[in-house]
């Protein structure tokens, strides 16, 4: 092990890895050079640079490297790019991802799926990357900000000549007779007041002076990092149950659906879509004969379930109502429903036929038949209609038995048992709401005698409810969003602090009538030179901003 002597000639004990003495600023290495000094972090040792690393220090050192941070950011960037090549799994409404990618995108799609890129942003490795970036941010910042804070908090006024003469802005000249202590101190005081007028905080020590302004801009990057850490933590907090949800659901007009994993039910009361008229479209669009929607809107009602949730008859309480349009979501305490898409899906919702005596023409009453969930029995005047069977998509199987071909009311058929005057025992009655099915399956013949007596039918289109559209909504909950905004705001404040202000420092000492000045800033050197030259001018020394640049020592 090498033991380094880190004690400066001024008597200050520095940490190993220190470049410039923390106290007087004397260069500890390269003592005799003349090129400008490396002033990064004021030459103090970064925490990770200190000697004898343990395994804990090694982890610390790994994450404290800016190079590692940049690699992590690049890898995350690449992963994010890959994650957007094909649609992510969570945007599917009703597709099997294991076959979808292969069928839609071929072999590359299958590889994409097998590599797990179809759920990049939920994957553990993506989270690990974000987490590592966060760790790197925290450690990189702490590694630098604490030593820097310490260095800037206790600066010595009288700096080593080697420190001053090797600043990027420096000047030496004679200002007084050697030995004229009073005039030297007077000049320093003049310079002090000139610099104070320029908003510098000035400290003097006899014939030495240190002036400093806008130190807070040095904290800009770290405040920016704090903002980013808040941002990242908020993003990671989305994995807390109930904090984040992002799913897509289709709502047929009139349909109420339960939102999975929430106590909410959402109903699409009505969906409307407006199309551009031909005269509103450009020629190109007209030629292509496109139907372009202008505006579409879902009249949505949000219910909260109070009991019997998840069953066929939950108890619901209306909590919100909003016409959802693109970029105008329903928002209920952070539960958001965005308009995403729509599809034309004409579908029967309900019919309201009336029961009529075929001979006398007397109408006994009407019943409302819901296509999704019809009741078990209905009453029309003196007649009771007991629903025995319901086939939403009627057909006959190979044995000639009635069956349903699908669960959608494409060709609904109802089998009732009617009881009432003249049919106390109950008679079966088959009912097809659609005229075409009624003819195809010869409803009147099947019903026989009852069909001669009674007629169940819809008089006009008023008795038929049809849902024309399915509205697709993006259901989102994002409790992390306020924190993400807060993090972004903090990060912006940090950026502004760092960008629009510069930390400027001017040191000078007069020894034997000879002035030695050095000045440092973290950016805008031109501005610093101008300011120093102007200040010197006010104090009686003509200096051209250009001559202050190192390597042009004149006078």
């Amino acid at each position: 092990m090498r033991i380094e002597n880190t004690k400066c000639e001024c008597g200050h004990q520095n940490y190993a890895g220190t470049v410039l003495c923390e106290s007087c600023g004397k260069p500890l290495y390269d003592d005799h050079g003349s090129e400008p000094l490396e002033m990064r972090y004021d030459g103090v040792a970064r925490r990770s640079q200190r000697g004898n690393p343990t395994w804990l220090d090694r982890i610390w050192n790994f994450f404290s490297s800016v190079k590692i941070a940049i690699y992590l950011i690049l890898i995350t960037l690449a992963a994010s790019v890959l994650g957007t090549v094909y649609p992510q799994e969570n945007t599917f409404i009703n597709l099997d991802p294991s076959t979808y990618y292969k069928q839609t995108y071929g072999t590359t799609g299958e590889i994409y799926y097998l590599l797990g890129l179809s759920h990049t942003f939920d994957s553990w490795w993506y989270r690990l990357l974000l987490f590592m970036i966060g760790t790197s941010l925290v450690i990189c910042s702490l590694d630098r900000v604490l030593p820097l804070y310490r260095a800037l908090n206790k600066q010595q006024i009288r700096k080593h000549p080697g420190f001053l003469s090797r600043q990027k802005v420096t000047l030496t000249c004679d200002i007084a007779e050697p030995g004229d202590q009073t005039s030297q101190e007077q000049w320093v005081q003049t310079m002090a007041s000139v610099l104070r007028k320029r908003h510098y905080r000035v400290h003097t020590d006899g014939t030495a002076l240190m002036a400093e302004k806008y130190r807070f801009s040095r904290w800009g990057p770290y405040i920016n990092h704090i903002g980013l850490i808040i941002f990242l933590l908020a993003a990671l907090a989305r994995s807390i149950p109930g904090w984040h949800m992002d799913q897509y659901m289709g709502f047929i007009e009139g349909q109420t659906l339960k939102i999975p994993n929430t106590p909410y039910y959402l109903k699409n009361e009505k969906f409307t879509v407006d199309f551009y008229k031909p005269e509103e479209m450009s020629d190109k669009f007209r030629q292509r004969d496109l139907i372009v929607p202008k505006m579409y809107e879902t009249q949505a009602v949000l219910y909260q379930c109070t009991s019997r949730c998840g069953t066929a008859d939950p108890v619901l309480k209306e909590v919100a109502r909003h016409p959802i349009r693109v970029n105008d979501p329903l928002n209920y305490h952070g539960f958001m429903a965005y308009q995403f898409d729509y599809k034309e899906t004409p579908r029967l919702i309900s019919v309201t036929p009336s029961l009529r005596n075929k001979q006398t023409g007397e109408v006994y009453g009407s019943i409302e038949l819901d296509m999704n969930n019809p009741q078990k029995s209905y009453q029309a005047g003196p007649y009771r209609l007991e629903l025995k069977s319901y086939f939403p998509d009627f057909g006959l199987d190979e044995h000639g038995q009635p069956m349903t071909k699908s669960n959608e009311p494409k060709a609904p058929a109802f089998i009732f048992t009617i009881t009432g005057p003249g049919m106390e025992k109950g008679q079966p009655y088959l009912y097809f709401p659609r005229m075409i099915d009624k003819d195809t399956y010869r409803q009147d013949d099947v019903n026989g005698a009852v069909g001669q007596l009674l007629d169940l039918s819809v008089g006009s289109m008023e008795g038929v409810k049809i849902a024309q559209y399915t509205s697709y909504l993006n259901i989102r909950v994002d409790k992390a969003l306020p924190y993400i905004w807060f993090g972004a705001a903090v990060s912006m404040i940090g950026l502004v602090m760092g960008f629009y202000w510069q930390h400027r420092r001017v040191w000078l000492r007069v020894d034997d009538g000879k002035l030695l000045l050095g000045a440092h800033t973290n950016k805008n050197w031109f501005g610093l030179r101008k300011e120093v030259a102007a200040a010197l001018g006010k104090a009686g020394i003509e200096a051209d901003p250009k001559t202050l640049e190192t390597g042009r020592k004149t006078l």
Binding site: L56, D122, F131, L236, S239, P374, L387, T404, N407
Partner: protein, 177 residues
């Protein structure tokens, strides 16, 4: 100073490790993935055709055959009598069959069940929630859930009576290896 510094460093690293573990664990056990064979069968409760609420975890300790079916699906209908036969045969050996109907109307389901004389519990997945939870895309799909609540077999498509029998025997530990 040195000791203090080490302490702070350890504390910071520890905090980072905890945050990391929590987020990564959250990502791994999100529970939104459809269960695979060997995974624990997600619990649910549904109201049945009998009007009662049935909860999967109530059957823990028994062998549960979870069958997703609909009357619009001919192979589902075809395997129903075989399931019923198996239910009658093995009922006494702690074998439960749960038929999860795919969002059909009460009347449609009950008329079919009555017609076939099905006696095992039929549950109504009226919001399509459990189907999605189990990632069922093809019908019928049947899960054989062991006594420990872990999915042992997932079968898509119609099952032969022998297949049902064999799986029940295997899971009850009565089958030949």
């Amino acid at each position: 100073m040195g000791r203090n510094r080490k302490w702070i460093q350890t504390a910071i690293l520890l905090a980072i490790v905890i945050v990391g573990a929590v987020t990564l664990a959250g990502g791994l056990f999100k529970g939104n993935e459809p269960p695979k064979v060997g995974a624990r069968a997600p619990d649910f409760s549904l109201s049945g055709l009998d009007g009662k609420t049935h909860r999967l975890s109530d059957f823990r300790g028994k062998l549960v055959i979870l069958n997703f079916w609909g009357t619009f699906c001919p192979p589902c209908k075809a395997e129903m009598p075989d399931l019923e036969a198996a239910y009658r045969k093995w009922q006494g050996d702690d074998v439960v069959i749960l038929g999860v109907n795919l969002n059909e109307s009460h009347v449609t389901v009950s008329s079919f069940v009555d017609q076939l004389g099905i006696t095992f519990p039929i549950l109504l997945d009226s919001q399509d929630e459990i189907r999605k939870k189990y990632g069922v895309m093809n019908f019928p799909t049947t899960f054989f859930i062991g006594r420990d609540g872990v999915i042992a077999v997932k079968q898509e498509g119609q099952m032969e009576p022998g297949f049902i029998e064999q799986n029940i025997k295997n899971l009850l530990g009565k089958g030949q290896p």
